[in-house]
């Protein structure tokens, strides 16, 4: 399209100059001697410039090249009409033969607005009829001698196409053509009016600038032709005043027409821009209410309803949870269904007038589809996230249950048996007073057994703190503090219920932190606080050691952080080098 834009400049320049050259040509719109007033001639030429200006303006709007080209061609057609004032034979011949070209192009332009294409078979018929009238004028040029029709300053041979001077034929054709033209203009008015009435509100805004000048021109010109018919074809004998007024009226409406056409095009563009905004706006997660409001506003149909298909209830749900059903037997409502790969997505119930702009409906349904799918995607993602979150928590709980089970098994099984065994050996040992060697051996065996028991105890405790289950977090944390090498200050304040998995997470956190403080960071003391804050359990451990703890992969803190996150909590660690370590975990108690 840029090539055409580049071509626009010289064409525009050329035609402007051409228009200027027309001025000194002794044109006379009424073919009367002496010409009309200067303002009249300027008005006439200005119509051409108006069409050119409008055409170029339309050309520079993206996507309006068709209307732009039509306007420019129509402007050329107008100047061809004005050329009739010339007495140069070739120019006059072209002007006379192609006299109706302007009107033909104008009719096409008006009917095809704003898309630049005809909308229906009816419109095509009207244009075809107009073309027939135009062609008849071209054909009958061979019979037209202007001198016969009263032109006093027309030289012989002015009409180069003249073959045979047949004034009667010319008159008959002119009469028929005139009547056909009047009928055409009336039908044109009717068609434009009907189209306006049937249009949706936003479309009317685009057509409004066109309607008034188009209808004014058509009425004035039709009246002009009518009077020609009534006064006979010898227009030179008709009352001048009436013709002057009619000509002025339709000339002024022609002057305004291209400018108002361009105004209509800018409205079309702004509506397309609003569709673009709609797409952006709907990009954010829309509720049915917002979607409906946005569509109703953009399409100018306040009664528009949108329903989004919800598979769980097998219905279309609209604003405020209302069920939307496609209305049957209602001439004022029509349903547009949106599907994706055969699956129902949404429906829009709206004014049938919206269907007239198929391009717009296409954009809107695409935008709505995008928005609805986006919302579905987001909902699915959220559901998946929740599922993943829940399953993580379940995995943690399952692992803890397993460990508890192992600890209990150890306690009730191996540990009990070994302890009993140790006692039994004690008994045997007491009976071996007379066999010191045997007794010594047995003592060694018992020592081994005791070591085994000790290891098993460590193992069992590492599995799961049974005391947490039996006695609760407070006792368990105090036990941790007592066992620690460091002096640990304990401050526990638990008011409400805390689920066991949360207690376990807090216990493990404090255990890990105290172990790190005692073993790695060379601390001399530590404090731990556990309290509840609005349904959230908070556990803090602070030591005065070297700091430098981190959440690296593989560290005990990393595993702890994973556990805490799986339960929906968070863990923060504040461990600047040389500044000690402060670990804080927060866990929701639901």
């Amino acid at each position: 399209m840029t090539g055409r834009r580049l071509a626009a400049a010289p064409v525009a320049l050329g035609t402007a100059i051409g228009g200027l050259l027309l001025l000194p040509i002794a044109f006379d719109p009424l073919h009367a001697e002496g010409g009309g007033p200067l303002w009249g001639r300027l008005l006439m030429v200005s119509v051409g410039w108006s069409f050119f200006a409008g055409g170029i303006a339309a050309w520079f709007m993206r996507r309006e090249q068709r209307t732009g080209s039509l306007l420019i061609l129509t402007g050329l057609g107008w100047w061809l009409v004005l050329l009739i004032g010339t007495r140069v034979p070739i120019l006059w011949t072209i002007s006379s033969a192609l006299e109706m070209l302007f009107l033909t192009l104008l009719v096409y332009l008006l009917l095809a607005f704003p898309e630049g294409r005809l909308h229906s078979l009816w419109e095509r018929l009207l244009v075809a009829l107009q073309v027939v009238v135009f062609l008849s004028g071209v054909v009958f040029a061979v019979f037209y001698n202007p001198t016969t029709f009263g032109c006093t300053n027309c030289p012989r041979g002015l009409n180069l196409l003249l073959i045979s001077d047949q004034p009667d034929l010319v008159n008959q054709r002119a009469t028929l053509a005139g009547r056909a033209e009047i009928a055409l203009l009336v039908l044109l008015i009717g068609t434009l009016w009907t189209r306006w009435v049937r249009s949706s509100v936003p479309r009317r805004r685009i057509l409004n600038p066109l309607i008034v000048p188009a209808i004014t021109f058509s009425l004035a010109y039709a009246a002009y032709l009518l009077f020609q018919q009534l006064a006979g074809v010898a227009i030179y004998a008709a009352p001048l005043r009436l013709y002057e007024i009619l000509i002025t009226v339709f000339t002024v409406s022609l002057l305004l027409l291209p400018l108002l056409l361009v105004l209509g095009l800018t409205r079309l563009r702004s509506r397309r821009a609003r569709i673009g905004d709609l797409v952006l706006e709907l990009g954010e997660l829309p509720t049915p209410e917002r979607l409906q409001a946005a569509l109703a506003r953009t399409l100018g149909d306040p009664s528009l309803e949108v329903g989004i298909w919800v598979p769980e209830v097998k219905r279309y749900l609209g604003a405020n949870g209302r069920t939307i059903v496609p209305p049957e037997e209602d001439p004022n409502r029509v349903t547009t269904t949106l599907e994706r790969h055969g699956e129902r997505l949404a429906i829009i119930v709206h004014d049938p007038a919206l269907l007239d702009d198929t391009a717009m409906i296409g954009s809107v349904t695409a935008a709505t589809r995008l928005a609805v799918e986006n919302e579905k995607l987001q909902r699915d993602l959220l559901d998946q996230l929740v599922e993943v979150h829940d399953s993580r928590a379940r995995i943690i709980e399952a692992a803890d249950e397993e460990r508890k089970r192992i600890e209990r098994n150890l306690h009730d099984g191996a540990q009990q048996r070994l302890v009993s065994l140790s006692l039994a050996l004690q008994l045997v040992e007491s009976k071996l007073e007379g066999a010191p060697e045997a007794k010594t051996s047995l003592t060694k065996v018992r020592a081994e057994l005791d070591d085994t028991l000790r290891e098993l105890r460590e193992l069992a405790r590492g599995m799961y703190p049974a005391i947490l289950t039996d006695q609760g977090l407070e006792v368990a944390v105090e036990a941790l503090a007592d066992r620690s090498r460091l002096p640990v200050e304990v401050d526990i304040d638990l008011a409400g219920d805390v689920p066991e998995k949360v207690q376990a997470a807090a216990y493990f956190a404090i255990s890990e932190a105290l172990t790190n403080a005692a073993r790695h960071s060379q601390a001399s003391a530590a404090t731990t606080r556990v309290y509840q804050d609005d349904g959230v359990l908070v556990a803090e451990v602070e030591d005065d050691g070297l700091g430098g703890a981190s959440l690296e992969e593989g560290s005990g803190l990393r595993g702890l952080a994973d556990r805490v996150h799986a339960l929906g909590g968070d863990l923060t660690i504040d461990s600047g080098p040389g500044k000690g370590t402060r670990l804080v975990i927060r866990l929701p108690c639901e």
Partner: protein
């Protein structure tokens, strides 16, 4: 006079072994109980001088039983035992009504008697 002892533990193997060890050292075992409630019934019925009490019991924990035993008149001497060591129970051992605590792996009749005579 022989000291009369009640053994409370839910593991029969341990009860048998403990009984054998204590009896070999001259203590009289007046009864064995597998849980807290039967322990209290037996304690009321048999009036032992001392109770060897496991902390892990199926119906209530040893600390609770010790509390209730302490209300008997006269209260028996209660020695808590467990497979786990005292450190795992935090302050509960110190705060309990029992005379003391012996980890099961360190249980000897000598140590038991020691605790009774303190």
């Amino acid at each position: 006079m022989r000291q009369r002892v009640l053994i409370v533990d839910d593991h029969s193997m341990f009860r048998r072994a403990a009984r054998a060890v204590l009896e070999a050292d001259g203590l009289e075992i007046v009864g064995e109980a597998p849980d807290g409630n039967s322990a209290l019934e037996l304690a009321i019925a048999a009036r032992p001088d001392a109770v060897l009490l496991d902390i892990q019991l199926p119906d209530c924990d040893g600390f609770e039983v010790a509390r209730r035993l302490a209300r008997l008149k006269p209260p028996p001497i209660v020695v808590l035992v467990s497979i786990r060591d005292a450190g795992e129970y935090g302050h509960l051992v110190m705060q309990s009504a029992a005379r003391g605590f012996i980890p099961k792996s360190e249980l000897t009749s000598a140590r038991f008697k020691e605790m009774l005579s303190v």
